[in-house]
Symmetry: C2
Subunit: 188 residues, 2 copies
Amino acid sequence: MIPEKAKRVFEGVLFDVYQWPQEMFDGTVETFEMLKRADTAEIIATKDGKIMLQEQEQPGKPPFLCLPGGRIEKDEEPLDGAKRELLEESGFVSEDWSLFHSVKPSHKMDWSIFVYVARDCRFVQEQHLDAGEKIQIRWVTLDELLDLVDSGQLGWIEQDFRVQCIRAKYHQSTKEEIRIKLFGEMLK
Amino acid sequence: MIPEKAKRVFEGVLFDVYQWPQEMFDGTVETFEMLKRADTAEIIATKDGKIMLQEQEQPGKPPFLCLPGGRIEKDEEPLDGAKRELLEESGFVSEDWSLFHSVKPSHKMDWSIFVYVARDCRFVQEQHLDAGEKIQIRWVTLDELLDLVDSGQLGWIEQDFRVQCIRAKYHQSTKEEIRIKLFGEMLK
């Protein structure tokens, strides 16, 4: 989305800024600006009919509820980044990964979010948290997840997945589709 | 949300970048980074039981459907910015404005979106478009709006309003609440 001719005018810790001259509809030229940030992964990790949530604290913020996930490193495949983040943040692994969807949330930012499903997770080691993370794991049913999203208590999730949860809360066949994606055909 | 002690390290066309030293849970210090951008307004403008949409083109992007709106200027009240944007982009005014809600869409950005309802709009002058805008006005019913949001054709709207539209699509009493907010008690 950032044109080839754009120049990086700032390199930050999280965000880089790019600018380029853009011709307008009337022939005049204006400076256009876009950001670049590292792609991120969010993981819908399941086990025994339940979904993993995190009660997370970060320095200088009130505690919040979210899905496991984080930044994908340079030269890391999105799926590998998702596997690494799940293991670091929760100590769980899965042998059954699939892409739920990927989205570009902003017109003004070169940034993709990859949402994965990791089925039948199992615990293999203790969490390895960054100095800026405090994470408690909590498992909820699909109905509990939909209630948390619908009530706004689980608001900091990828927005297209949030929308699907709201639809599923009020539309039975959407809920069954999501149930199958998360748990397979067997669990009803 | 950006701490007082933060320093502006970059000033861009759309985005400014701020950094500050943040103490981690283990006592170490890391550089934290946040962005600042101008607050924006989106307007749900109504007339004769219908809602105004824009078919918009901007340089270097495929055409897209959205609500009227835009950036609030420095030293401009959000409501005044919303009135100005509606008039510039559509030529319509309203004497019946109310705040639908306001949201801060990102943890990492000092940015608010104000969503307003402008009832009983009337046309007073031609559009005054920027050199980077081509806008066609289109009026839809609430049911058509909900279908456009649900099908993803109207995706670039404020996300909490998008979620409310999805809920309304599948939940009759939410739809009636929205109908009253947009059109008043009279229209059913």
